[in-house]
């Protein structure tokens, strides 16, 4: 039996019993949604539709409608891709890495963080697909026998590694999430009164009945999937960084990229988890489950990963000078002082300086401050990818090729559109899915619940 240390605070506040946990999570699913939910769903739905319209226009007309040019061949498309994949990483970190480390506080946040991961990776995968231009030829990325003779995809290419990394990551995250959801769907199935809902959740729950042997297998599967997802999450963003690091473009050609990208991903992902959870916690009255302590733990992860990112920025800068390669030195000097100095400044202040404020306990336990910080970090991390991608290529080897990148309405529309689609899916999740891992929370109630700890 797990014993809670005296100095640890309980993770489930209020005098909760097993039944209370079920009621707290299932009743919002059964009851009528608040008006705010419909308003938000409508707004995000409209933005999503606008985004889909933009994507269709892009596919119909071609990627010439983006602001790309001969020099800047990758801009917002890949910036958005890396940003969304990065956001996805927090969910897997919370559910897999923290499971292996036996961090019980993850149980209140893992379900929604994993949902966020899945929706974010869907948005991410959209960008490499549409940036191909002719999306109907996307099956070319798979090693399929074809009419061109013995022509296979090039497995030496990091772009192809990405195909395998992202698709594995998405599908493994999805089953990890769903296997955890099955027992909770069963709880909803047995709790709701409406026969239609009972039928729907009955199908979703795959006939789960909570037998002893099933739970035995469930725990083994969760543990092994966590063990598999942990190296997977690190590999995915390492491979994303290889897209740049294996090239010979000054500013991209850096061995520090894999760890730097992974910590940046976790950093931005936690910021997004906080953005979503702080709102959800308030609206769905989950204060007893997602406590101030949970928010504080997440903010501590933000300090750690933010500091790693900061060190990586400075190391990169130092190495560009220390390497003695003038193209490399120029690329970095140009980032900070060239035409895109403002993007660099946003990135530095949002990602390096601002998370350091969380060293103050007063600030990291303040919800409003955390929420604003989370938004700042989300913005900062988007600019990080923009700075890496665009400022490295906009000054080409030949000064005659130098150019700038100006986004068009399609650039903007596709990006804002993915935010809308993401929010739309997350709102549906928050309404119809069990937003907390019921079975996991019940299993820690006796060791971490306020009611039992006090006794």
């Amino acid at each position: 039996m797990h014993k809670l240390s005296e100095i640890r605070q309980p993770l489930i506040l209020g005098e909760k019993s097993y039944g209370d946990i079920t009621n707290d999570i299932v009743s919002p699913i059964e009851n009528k949604a608040p008006k705010g939910w419909y308003i938000l769903l409508t707004i995000s739905g409209l933005i999503a539709l606008w985004g889909i319209g933009n994507i269709l226009y892009l596919i119909g007309v071609g990627i010439g409608t983006w602001g790309l040019n001969k020099t800047v061949g990758w801009a917002w498309d890949i910036t958005n891709f890396v940003w969304w994949v990065g956001i996805g990483h927090a969910g897997t970190l919370i559910s897999a890495v923290l499971l292996l480390f036996r961090q019980r506080w993850r149980m209140a946040i893992n379900r929604s963080a994993e949902a966020m991961t899945i929706f974010a990776v869907m948005m991410a995968a959209l960008f490499p697909a549409i940036h191909m231009g002719r999306i109907w030829l996307a099956y070319f990325v798979f090693p399929l026998p074809n009419q061109f003779g013995s022509l296979w995809v090039n497995f030496n290419s990091p772009l192809l590694w990405d195909v395998f990394a992202i698709s594995t990551y998405f599908s493994v995250s999805l089953i990890f999430w769903y296997i955890g959801l099955i027992p909770d769907f069963a709880t909803i199935r047995d709790k709701v009164k409406s026969p239609v809902m009972r039928k729907v959740y009955g199908i979703l729950s795959f006939g789960w009945s909570g037998k002893a042997k099933h739970w035995n297998r469930f725990e083994e599967v969760s543990l092994v999937l966590a063990g598999l997802a942990t190296p997977l999450v690190f590999s995915v963003h390492s491979i994303v960084s290889f897209d740049f690091a294996t090239s010979i473009v000054p500013g991209w050609h850096t061995t520090i990229f894999p760890p730097y990208f992974v910590s940046g991903a976790v950093f931005s992902g936690f910021a997004m988890v906080l953005t979503l959870l702080l709102v959800m916690r308030k609206v769905m009255h989950l204060e007893d489950y997602i406590t101030i302590k949970h928010i504080e733990y997440m903010n501590i992860v933000i300090i750690v990963t933010g500091s790693i990112v900061g060190i990586a920025y400075i190391t990169e800068m130092f190495v560009s000078w220390y390497s003695g390669v003038e193209y490399e030195s120029y690329a970095f000097l140009n980032r900070a002082t060239g035409k895109y100095w403002w993007a660099y400044l946003i990135m530095m202040s949002a990602n390096v300086i601002s998370p350091q404020l969380f060293w103050f306990k007063k600030l990291r336990t303040n919800l409003m401050f955390t929420f604003i910080m989370a938004l700042i970090i989300n913005t900062g991390m988007w600019f990080e990818r923009f700075v890496i991608i665009v400022t490295s290529v906009h000054r080409d080897y030949l000064p005659s090729s130098w150019s700038m990148f100006y986004p068009t309405w399609t650039d903007l529309g596709v990006f804002i559109g993915t935010l809308g689609i993401f929010m739309f899916m997350f709102l549906l999740f928050a309404r119809y899915f069990p937003v907390l891992a019921l079975n996991e929370l019940k299993s820690i109630l006796k060791s971490n619940g306020e009611k039992y700890v006090k006794k």
Binding site: S150, V153, W161, T187, D190, F206, F218, F242, K442
Partner: protein, 177 residues
Amino acid sequence: MADKVYYALYNDDDDLKGAAKKLVEGGIKVNDVFSPFPVHGLDPIIGVKQTRLGIVAFIFGITGLILALVGFQYFMIGDWPMDIGGKPNQNLLFNLPAFIPVTFEFTVLFAAHGMSLTYLIRNKTLPGMPAENPDPRTTDDHFAIKILKSENPELTDNKVEELLKDTNIVELNQKEF
């Protein structure tokens, strides 16, 4: 075939474990336990063996690894050796570093999906399967012990009641079928 089933309902996991222990010590075979979450320490009492799904994951992982390597040998070395900058692919070993990422992803892909599918099939939890829990409360805050008459021929109603009398039992239901 006439059979009788007893369901002893509890609302606390420690009471459940105590009752299961008492039953097993009284020589009764517990058929199954239904609970809303994994009750640690219950499996050894009622004789549920540790699952071997971990081994399944390993076997699937090895399969994925081998498939990836066979694929590389065929695509990149055998069928169409690539010659990049005068550095041809000579054999799999020399070119292995570039193939590590996809090999790893393929291993994880196979291990995760193979194990999860095996898990669902072995559990018989698949879309459209009927739920077997005796009471809707067992997915909420109740725990049920299932005892089958056919597995305990000498069992009588009185004996079950006798054994479970002081175990904080909520209800004892019985059904003949």
